[in-house]
Amino acid sequence: MTRFRPFRAIALALSLALVAAACGDDDDSAATDDTAVEETEDMASDDAAAPASSAEACDADAIVAAVQGGADEGTLEGMTDDPVGTAASNNPVLTTLVTAVSEAGLVDTLNSAEALTVFAPTDCAFAALDPATLEAALADPEGLLTQVLGFHVVAGQRLSAADLAGVTELETFTGEMLPISVDGETVTVGGQASVVVPDISTANATVHLIDSVMLPPSAG
């Protein structure tokens, strides 16, 4: 069941550093779609306690709790809005992803793209990944790690969860095809991951938090 929760929407929009720009240039001042976050969820509680570790923030409620508990307001710098690479670094449930993106040297690439759709695995998703695979990827930042991360990014368009209902596959950043299937409220990506929190807007990307790290076909 989908419910709109303004408080959560604001909390997410705030803490995920998502939005456009008092200082944006004229061109992309309209780039922000919206800050409303509609969520699919099956937990009844609004007051899930903040998890002890971000890796335990696995469902929408826990993620919201982590974000609310962990936002560090003073660290954001700059007079402009934040592009996705920077925005993610202010999100407490994306710490592993941010480290990986930085290791792979992809921060500029993500920040300077005009329009992206990003499927962002949460810390919970990384915790569930086979440790050997993660180690192998981190040991080869410009190779395997880049291949894996690139498989999570679609360039050239900002697709909302509603837009995803109209597609069956997308060409990713690294040229590999990413299958998409939507069944009611459930969006499955790459046949491997589900969208947990959809439609987070940053200056240049629409971000969907997902529950698994997706391995591209080329990674075997």
Binding site: I10, A20, T80, D108, A113, E142
Partner: protein, 516 residues
């Protein structure tokens, strides 16, 4: 149970809400009458933004995006909508509370209006408070007059006298009046738009116009930033809640501070000083690696030094402060007015400054980030000292000295673009204003840095286009770019965030090449 001579909670709450609507409407109407009179709500919103710790401002920016200021206005109205009924309930036992409430809001409005305005700016706030108080007093008089009539009836309304119907009708009429006044005030205010003034303005040419750029300065590659950024695509960064509306006819520039002879100029007098043209690339301190908060234009204006010389600068002065009509200030070293291009600009790419870029006049200074050197809607040039005045962004954590760092950017291929294998081109721009660009190099994957071909330079104050032919092979490739300035200094590879004095580092881009 309330005492019989006290209005019901509902009535009291509704009364103050109605009075608040009338007050806000009156304030807006008044603000629409005279340009210098400020809307109380907008004045408070601007004051809040100016006084917020920068972390809070960024919270607003991130949460509400370009609508952060609108959100603040709505927030203020919501606060009024909550406080007014509460105050109404509280005033049942202490009627003076209602009037005190309007007085308090009036004082807040007045203080906010005076913040960066003139004493006259506060007129609408005073009018709003008086209107609110008047509604309260009038309603009490009406209620008092009605009470004797109703006193004999057992079913006297909960309001103590007037029937529900009359109350609803009266309240509804007042709310409608308030809304009409607010809408009318907003509509009237649009006549202060400077658009008509700009449309009617024909700028004289420069005494010695710059030649057209050499054909070789523009490489004309699809996707590469054009040599001159069109005005409607030029980045805009400022702190203005609404774009200040300053008709050229009403504009004056005050040159004062540590000078022998302070003076004031009208727009026509400024033009009579004599105009020059200059190509200058402006850069925002917030521009990130690969970012687009940078743009190049041909500016038309009066050299600031001409005005300073006329005023006679005190030798002890070391800072120029440019103050906008809305109170924003930039500040930069005095010598920058003498050792580089520094204009009070009135024209941009062949037309009067667009409203959002500072019509009718702004500062343009080569080689310094915009926040320290490029005040828009310029109202005053004050000659002072760094130890006597801190410009707007300095207490907010930014550096007071902010020369533009040497920077290079890849425009082609675009980030995220999937390129077909074969012969293609890598291209972009590089800038090191006042020093110029002498070299741009690109590294592909683990290869060596290869020197790119530079377009002809427009000047040392502008960016320079570059290109490098590339035979792209299938797979993922990493491109890294770096520039060397005209003094032979290599762009630093030390990565830094924009705060406090500009981003640095070499931009790195992942490009995917598709097999043929």
């Amino acid at each position: 149970m309330p005492a019989t001579d006290q209005p019901s909670r509902l009535h009291a709450a509704a009364l103050l809400t109605v009075a608040a609507v009338v007050a806000v409407g009156t304030g807006e109407l008044a603000a629409g009458l005279v340009q210098a009179w400020r809307s109380p709500v907008e004045a408070v919103a601007e004051s809040v933004i100016d006084r917020s710790p920068s972390s809070l401002t960024r919270f607003g920016i991130r949460t509400f995006g370009t609508n952060d200021k609108l959100a603040l206005v709505i927030g203020i109205l919501l606060i009024l909508a909550v406080v007014a009924p509460l105050l109404g309930v509280a005033s049942r036992r202490r009627p003076s509370l209602a009037l005190a409430g309007f007085a308090a809001f009036g004082v807040v409005g007045v203080l906010a209006s005076l913040d960066g305005g003139t004493p006259w700016s506060a007129v609408p706030s005073v009018a709003a408070a008086l209107a609110g108080a008047a509604v309260v007093l009038l309603s009490r008089r009406v209620a008092a007059a009605a009470r004797p009539l109703a006193s004999g009836e057992a079913a006297a309304g909960p309001s103590g006298g007037l029937g529900r119907r009359e109350l609803l009708a009266g309240g509804g009429a007042l709310v409608a009046l308030g809304l009409v006044m607010a809408a009318g005030g907003r509509a009237l205010g649009t006549r202060f738009s400077a658009a008509a003034s700009r449309a009617a303005l024909a700028l004289p040419g420069a005494r010695r116009p710059l030649p057209s750029p050499a054909p070789g300065a523009e490489l004309g590659i699809d996707g590469l930033a054009p040599l001159y950024t069109p005005n409607d695509r030029f980045y805009r960064i400022d702190t203005a809640l609404t774009i200040p509306q300053v008709p050229a006819e009403d504009w004056t520039l005050r040159v004062h501070g540590m000078v022998g002879e302070p003076f004031e100029l009208t727009f026509d007098e400024l033009l009579d000083v004599g105009l020059v043209e200059a190509d200058v690339t402006l850069t925002c301190v917030s521009n990130r690696l690969g970012g687009d908060l940078v743009g190049n234009a041909r500016w038309l204006g009066v050299p600031l030094r001409t005005l300073l010389d006329r005023a006679g600068v005190d030798p002890d002065a070391d800072q120029i402060v440019g103050r906008s009509v809305d109170g924003y200030t930039c500040g930069f070293p005095l010598e920058a007015a003498y050792d580089r291009t520094c204009l009070v600009a009135v024209g941009m790419n062949g037309e009067p400054l667009p409203l959002q870029h500072g019509f009718p006049a702004r500062l343009v200074t080569a080689g310094l980030y915009g926040y320290v050197s490029a005040t828009k809607w310029l109202a005053e040039v004050e000659v002072t000292r760094f130890d006597r005045f801190e410009q707007y962004w300095v207490p907010r954590g930014y550096a007071s000295l902010a020369p533009i760092k040497t920077m290079s950017r890849i425009d082609v291929p675009r980030s995220g673009q999937i390129v077909d294998a074969g012969d293609t081109v890598i291209a972009g721009v590089a800038w090191a204003q006042t020093r110029g660009i002498s070299k741009v190099e690109v590294r592909v994957d683990d290869g060596p840095f290869v020197e790119a071909e530079l377009a002809e330079a427009l000047g040392d104050d502008t960016w320079r286009q570059w290109r490098l032919p590339w035979t792209a092979t299938a797979g993922a490739h990493r491109l890294v770019v770096r520039a060397t300035d005209g003094d032979g200094r290599l762009q630093t590879d030390e990565r830094a965030e924009p705060l406090p004095d500009g981003a640095s580092g070499w931009q790195s881009l992942l490009v995917t090449v598709r097999a043929p």
